[in-house]
């Protein structure tokens, strides 16, 4: 159950931040920072509201996934893809390597990876686009080999 809550938190945070960023025109930094601050303070003031695991992890997942919502509407404007990206972020967070634990920027790196994966998704899932994604990959691999 805790895992499902964290997966949902990731998707919700990304969508919420994107909404504040683009629709409410608050800009990427303020939308991510204010929402993270509110969630952080909430769990700081009410540490016993949820289990210790969720109280520790929800603010971190929310902050990390909010970095996805900082994306420009020029790059991505589909709420479903942004939510999917937040979901992927949570999956990466739950399986993150202990090697990079405590490294500042780790959440942002996971957010960037999630966003790139979500951007790449339509090229392999959309109808008639399967060959497009495959062709891009093939072009990249074989061009290097030839040269």
């Amino acid at each position: 159950m805790d895992v499902i809550i964290l997966l949902a938190t990731g998707a919700f945070a990304a969508i919420c931040t994107y909404f504040v960023n683009v629709k409410l025109k608050q800009g990427p930094v303020r939308s991510s920072a204010v929402l993270s601050l509110v969630v952080g303070i909430f769990f700081y003031v009410y540490p016993d509201l949820l289990s210790e695991y969720l109280t520790t992890n929800i603010p971190i997942v929310f902050t990390g996934a909010s970095f996805i919502g900082m994306v420009s509407s020029v790059v991505i404007s589909n709420y479903f893809l942004i939510g999917t990206s937040g979901f992927i972020f949570s999956v990466i967070y739950l399986n993150a390597s202990k090697f990079f634990a405590g490294y500042g920027g780790g959440l942002g790196t996971a957010a960037a990876i999630s966003l790139l994966v979500a951007i790449g998704l339509p090229f392999v899932t959309r109808k008639n686009k399967i060959s497009n994604g495959y062709l891009v990959l093939r072009k990249l691999i074989f061009r290097r080999k030839k040269s």
């Binding site: 800009g27 990427p28 930094v29 303020r30 991510s32 920072a33 204010v34 929402l35 993270s36 601050l37 969630v39 952080g40 303070i41 700081y44 603010p59 971190i60 902050t63 970095f67 996805i68 919502g69 900082m70 994306v71 420009s72 020029v74 790059v75 992927i88 999956v91 990466i92 399986n95 993150a96 390597s97 202990k98 090697f99 990079f100 634990a101 405590g102 490294y103 500042g104 920027g105 780790g106 959440l107 942002g108 790196t109 996971a110 957010a111 960037a112 990876i113 999630s114 966003l115 790139l116 994966v117 951007i119 790449g120 998704l121 090229f123 392999v124 994604g133 891009v136 990959l137 990249l140």
Partner: protein, 185 residues
């Protein structure tokens, strides 16, 4: 030729950081087939996405270098709130980011203050580091400086991509850790 390589270096560095981060997940969980499939699929989709990342050709101006100061300040302040004041990384980065997002209101015509929110927020990610990694404020300030330099030189890539600032902060912390490991052991 040399100019081309220097131009592509920040892009390659950010890509390397993404790949290293995913490979660390993979190496730790090699026994889990589902994680293996997830990481390989993620890497393939990332490669496709990288080909779609546009690059701009704006020249670096003096005001861009001013961003380094905001990154260092953001890193120091966030680390202080995070560790010294004991509020933790989330409140630290949220507070610094919220404060920094208001800086352009001081002077709407200032090009330097326009850069401040993103730069300080990038620095705040450096300040989210755990004391087990960072050790002291000096490490954070130096990592902030490295991240600031990376931020300036990656001006023309990944514009508008969420997670760019975090990747740069991660690069700053990882490079500083590497430098300390190699030279100050």
């Amino acid at each position: 030729m040399m100019k081309q390589i220097v131009k592509k270096l920040p892009f390659l560095l950010l890509v390397l950081l993404h790949v290293l981060f995913l490979l660390a997940v993979l190496l730790e969980k090699l026994n889990f087939i589902s994680i293996l499939i997830f990481v390989v699929a993620a890497l393939m989709l990332m490669v496709i996405a990288y080909t779609k990342v546009p690059t701009q050709d704006n020249t670096l101006l003096y005001k861009d270098y001013g961003a380094i100061v905001f990154v260092v300040l953001g890193a120091g302040l966030a680390y202080y709130i995070n560790v010294n004041a004991g509020f933790g990384p989330v409140i630290a980065t949220g507070a610094v980011g919220t404060f920094a997002s208001m800086l352009p209101w001081l002077n709407r015509n200032s090009a330097l203050l326009k850069e401040a929110p993103a730069a300080a927020y990038c620095g705040s990610f450096v300040g989210m580091s755990s004391p087990n990694v960072a050790g002291n404020m000096l490490f954070i300030l130096f990592a902030g400086f490295v991240a600031g330099v990376l931020l300036v030189f990656s001006k023309n890539i990944f514009q508008g991509y969420g997670g760019k600032l975090g990747t740069i902060a991660f690069g700053g912390v990882a490079l500083t850790y590497l430098i300390m490991f190699l030279f100050l052991r």
